[in-house]
Amino acid sequence: MIGTNHSAATDGADADIAIVGAGPAGLACAAEAAALGLSSVLLDDNPRPGGQYLRHPAFATAPEDPLGADARRLASLLAVTALPQVSYRPGATVWDLPAPGVLAVAEGERSGRVRAHAIVLATGAYDRPAPFPGWTLPGVISAGAAQNLLKGMRILPGRRVVVAGNGPLLMLVAANLLACGVEVVAIAEAAPVSPRLWRALPLLLSQSDLLMQAARWRYAFWRAGVPFLQSWTIAHATGADRVDGAVLCPLNPDGTRDGARARSFACDSIIVGYGLLASVELLRLAKAALHWEPQRGGFVPVRDAAFRTTVPGVWAVGDGAGIGGARLAEAEGRIAAHAIATTRCHRGDQRRLSDLCARWGRIDQFRRGLEQLFAAPLPPHGPVGDETVICRCEEVTAGMLAAARDGGAESAVQVKAATRLGMGRCQGRNCLPSLSAMVAREQDASPGEVAWPMPRPPARMIPIGALLVESLPPPNLPADPHLPRKRAG
């Protein structure tokens, strides 16, 4: 049943499918597509495959390595990059979708356009920025960055660490730190997890092994004497040149900090993880319809049951289309491959597809269970202080944002123009979510109702040198540079 002769993509296309991102979703999509006889180009801006979840060191690790448990899964998924139907291109930054079925790619001497019949965006997620006084001090590290250090380089982010935030990733980071011998001073989880456990249990049982794993983490915290403070959050970090402590406090039911019951903890590092945001930059550039789902990563694409977006020929899977974890991402990647095979050459495997959809349904149950468990007010939990930097690239403080609002900036777009917030190297990823939350609070609206500035290519910074290599037809230059130009397209 499963095809072996992969359809050599014809009519000028480089492959049947172009996949952006070689994390669990992208790798699974490429694997399933290959099994269905479809060719794919797998583009990833990391030097090695696996994405954030399967991040692994370039060097060999010892068998007793505390983070080695993922190694088996790694081997099977990472093998996808060696399949003959898969053209795996690491170090390739996709920076725009300049036309239907076309990706603009910066990858050194190979930079240019990739054409495919279907595009699958599996772009993953990044840490939600959560400004608080002291969050820019050296020693304050995001949960994702701490995982990078641990999983990718085996570097400890600190010796005595406070972990604060919200969601399952926080427990995972804390457990990893403990396993690596780091002293975890305290964990502040914004949600009241334990009292909700019984209600969420029926959903969580659908992935009982993950539930067991979480139970083992909680046991490890208990054994190590780590306070697991629920409905608590971080108030501020202390320290002159770098972090020397964290002040944690309980959350009031209205989502503000209860400063009267604050507790201080000495530490040399603070890991902060208030959930993840879906990387939807390419979807914004493609003008895909997005909707606001704060628990799933902010703005996420509108998708059908096969994970098609509203842009013809563009699919979105995995955390980049709504946070759901690695298992869900993998299932989505595979289902999308089947949907593409069906549209492309009526070559699907109905039984396999219905199995996959059933698996997806079970994992999604678990995801909904986690969502119930970890629902919590979004940061910031109260005023962040006028001196606190919101946009790190352009060094814009909360006070400067307030001044711009008082000065007549009506919208997030105008605040950006007035302050240069979001115009630096991170292209707004680490500050626009905070700005939109602040504007929403002032207008008593949902952040989903706050219009973001127009997305502008490139989706990620690219060296101008990467735009010099593709061979192009000669330009259409004006005969007289002063007269009106003849437009492209």
Binding site: E410, S411, A417, E442, P457, I464, L472, L483, R485, A488
Partner: protein, 374 residues
């Protein structure tokens, strides 16, 4: 946050368009004691004035507009002291480069004409050119240096100018696009989605929408629409210390104090004025970057941060439409000049003079909007 300015019932002058020309005209009209309301279809400074390259150059302009541009170059540095308007203006001098035989010929021809119009222009080639600008690439054969060329930040200027106008009591009415204009004796009655306005005089300075507004009065203006692309880099180490323009018209390049390089030159994107949508053109963007790197090779190592496209209204001869709309009473227009951002303060000051006293400092009769009437 203050609420947006309401549309007043009556005003001396209604300025249609909240861009560089309209706002400077409003500034000078207000200073002469007139009440002014600016009617802007979207947000203030949101179209060409906010999306342009901020080049304040004279030597890349047609010789017919050299006097007007020089008047503007006299005004730009005074705005801070006289009106408290920060523009981030600086005058590092400009190099207009040529890389081809035809480019060199054009450069020479233009330099002669501009010198004839009173401009100080220095011809540079060979060692003198490399000494003056060692950062230029080998493709550059010759350049002219004009000490009057400079740059301003459209971003900074727009914010400061709006604030100055608000402070002076000029109503900046956003989301108030004019969709009907009736004449009631000598008065104009303008309909906007935010209420009607009676005005003694009107100034159309609505960029690419100017022709649509003029059509409400039955006037036909032959404005073409360019969709110019622009790109900004990450803050980079010092790469160039002059404003660069190109004799083949394919490049404008400058570096701001924070290190950001702005790369433009009129490479065309795609866009549709009726829907307001505009997009980059992939190949033209690459051509634009290649033109930039061939002139300043150091740019190849710099990261591109963002690219965008903005509309520009251009008359068939690229010269401004400036003056009274014939037969329509106190209705004026300023639109259609290529690179009008440079001339913004001068166009604003001159049209204010025209509206107030019926005369201008410079002879601008050649730019009469009726010149295309067959």
């Amino acid at each position: 946050m203050p609420p947006p300015d309401p549309v007043p019932a009556e005003t001396d002058v209604a300025v249609i368009g909240g861009g560089v020309v309209g706002l400077f005209a409003a500034l000078f009209l207000q200073r002469a004691g007139r009440s002014v309301a600016v009617l802007e279809r979207a947000a203030i400074w949101s179209d060409a004035s906010g999306a342009n390259a901020g080049t304040i150059a004279v030597q890349n302009k047609r010789h017919e507009v050299v006097p007007l541009t020089r008047l503007a170059i006299r005004l730009w540095p005074t705005l801070k002291a006289e009106y408290g308007i920060d523009t981030a203006y600086s005058r590092p001098g400009g190099l207009r480069v040529a890389a081809s035989e035809t480019g060199v010929a054009r450069l020479r021809r233009d330099a002669e004409k501009q010198a004839g119009a009173g401009l100080e222009i220095e011809w540079l080639e060979g060692n003198r050119l490399r000494d003056c600008a060692p950062w230029l690439g080998p493709s550059v054969r010759a350049a002219t240096l004009c000490p009057e060329d400079g740059q301003a930040s459209p971003l900074v200027t727009g914010i400061a100018l709006s604030a100055a106008l608000r402070q002076r009591g000029v109503a900046l009415c956003t989301h108030a696009g004019v969709h009907q204009i009736a004449r009631n004796g000598a008065q104009f009655v303008l309909d906007t989605p935010r209420g009607p306005l009676r005005a003694g005089a009107i100034l159309i300075a609505a960029g690419v929408w100017s022709a649509d507004v003029a059509a409400l009065l039955g006037a036909r203006l032959p404005l073409a629409v360019d969709v110019n692309m622009l790109s900004a880099t990450e803050p980079a180490p010092a790469l160039l210390d002059r404003v660069v323009t190109h004799a083949d018209g394919v490049l404008s390049l400058k570096q701001y104090g924070n290190g950001t390089c702005l790369i433009g030159g009129g490479w065309q994107g795609q866009g549709d004025v009726s829907t307001g949508t505009r997009a980059l053109d992939y190949e033209n963007l690459l051509h634009n970057m290649r033109a930039a790197v061939s002139v300043v090779p150091g740019l190849a190592q710099v990261q591109l941060l963002r690219s965008w496209a903005g509309f520009e209204a251009v008359a068939p001869d690229s010269l401004p439409l400036f003056g009274c709309l014939p037969g329509l009473g106190e209705a004026y227009i300023v639109a259609g000049a290529r690179g009008a951002y440079s001339q913004g303060p001068a166009l604003g000051a001159e049209v204010a003079r025209l509206m107030l006293a019926g005369e201008t400092e410079l002879d601008l009769t050649a730019f009469a909007p009726g010149r295309f009437a067959a």
